[in-house]
Amino acid sequence: MNAQSSNLRLVRICLFAALIAALGLIPRIDIPIAAGVPITAQTLGVMLAGLMLGARAGALSVLLFLFVVALGMPFLAGGRGGLAVFFGPTAGFLFGWIPGAFLSGLLGRSTGPLSFLRGLAGAFAGGVIAVYACGIAWLAIVAGLGWKAAMIATAVFLPGDVLKSLLAAAIAARAGEFGK
């Protein structure tokens, strides 16, 4: 890998980390599709990082974002941040973002060029299934909520996250047309 492409890769990893942060800071009214659905837009950024950067760079992008949050920047939705968020009951979802982005990229990109359907499969498997698996496991084991209750509590967010998978796939497929 030469110096040029490695700088471009680095900048893109940072760009998507910043995008996840920006999505948490947008006032809810400005999110075009959010009408009434309980969502934070940040998982959209996680799915997009995987889909548009690929598995490894996408996961690194999320890792960088979480690192900046851990350092004390209030970049999570609602101005949360610092080390405290990694000790809270919903920390599993944050950790789940890393395999989430990886899986999004793996399924969305590895079998051929990005299309809407491939993107949707990747975004759903990564951004929903992988993230929920980590989030539910943390709620159940660390926070002591119990498996059944954790699953029920998490199901509230499913409609919003399905919507975000669709949106992420659509954006990634469209943005691909604009080229690199």
Binding site: M1, A3, Q4, S6, N7, L8, L10, V11, R12, I13, C14, L15, A17, A18, L19, A21, A22, L25, I26, D30, P32, R56, L60, L63, L64, F65, F67, V68, A70, L71, G72, M73, P74, F75, G78, R80, G81, G82, L83, A84, F86, F87, G88, P89, T90, L139, V142, A143, G144, L145, G146, A149, A153, L167, I171, R174, A175, E177, F178, K180
Partner: protein, 201 residues
């Protein structure tokens, strides 16, 4: 952009970041093992006293607990159903203690100190071609990019409003993405021109 660091310095500000992080890790593990409600309540009481003792900005930061209430309530109810009220109370107290403890470290440690302390943990990333010097650049760059991205989106939204009179919608998303990817390309070129990262190739 303002971080979560609190300025009026306290005793904790003088302790090095590494020790604070190790203490946090150890105390959190210990905390996970305590099942006794009285001991956990005493820990929480002691922590609250520390917050109160450190002054107003610290007390105001207790607001970080507010978004946790729905989850805490769900955990409490679920624990009462599957176990008893004692383990339910213990779960909630344990979470409160761990969150407040972690935030104490965040509030008393500058970003640079935290970054230096966490650097050894990031060393495995070298396998993926990310050296620790580059991580410093990335952190600063991400923090600068966030307001830049919000500004870019605002620009598109304003242009849309001025021309259509409607609220900005999904149509702006694709050109916005094309624009920020082009911006990333320009920034990468600027880094190349300055020879950033070239010595390692």
């Amino acid at each position: 952009m303002i971080g979560l660091y609190q300025h009026p310095p306290t005793i904790l500000h003088r302790v090095s970041a590494g020790y604070k992080l190790i203490a946090l890790a150890v105390l959190s593990i210990v905390c996970m093992r305590i099942g006794n409600v009285a001991i956990l309540a005493a820990c929480l009481g002691a922590l609250l006293a520390v917050y109160a003792g450190f002054g107003k900005p610290f007390v105001r930061r207790l607001a970080i607990l507010r978004p946790l209430w729905p989850t805490m309530l769900a955990i409490f109810v679920a624990q009462i159903i599957v176990a008893d009220w004692q383990s339910a109370t213990a779960s909630i107290l344990r979470l409160l203690v761990m969150v407040l403890l972690a935030d104490l470290v965040t509030m008393s440690t500058r970003m640079q100190a935290m970054m230096d302390a966490l650097a050894p943990l990031l060393r495995p990333l070298r396998m993926f071609g990310v050296s620790s010097e580059r991580i410093s650049f990335c952190v600063a760059y991400v923090i600068r990019l966030v307001p830049l991205l919000l500004e870019q989106w605002q620009l598109y939204a304003d242009a849309w409003r001025a021309r259509t009179g409607n609220r900005p919608g999904w149509r702006l998303i694709a050109p916005f993405f094309a624009n920020i990817l082009r911006m990333a390309g320009r920034h990468a070129e600027a880094l190349d021109a300055r020879g950033f990262g070239a010595s390692r190739q």
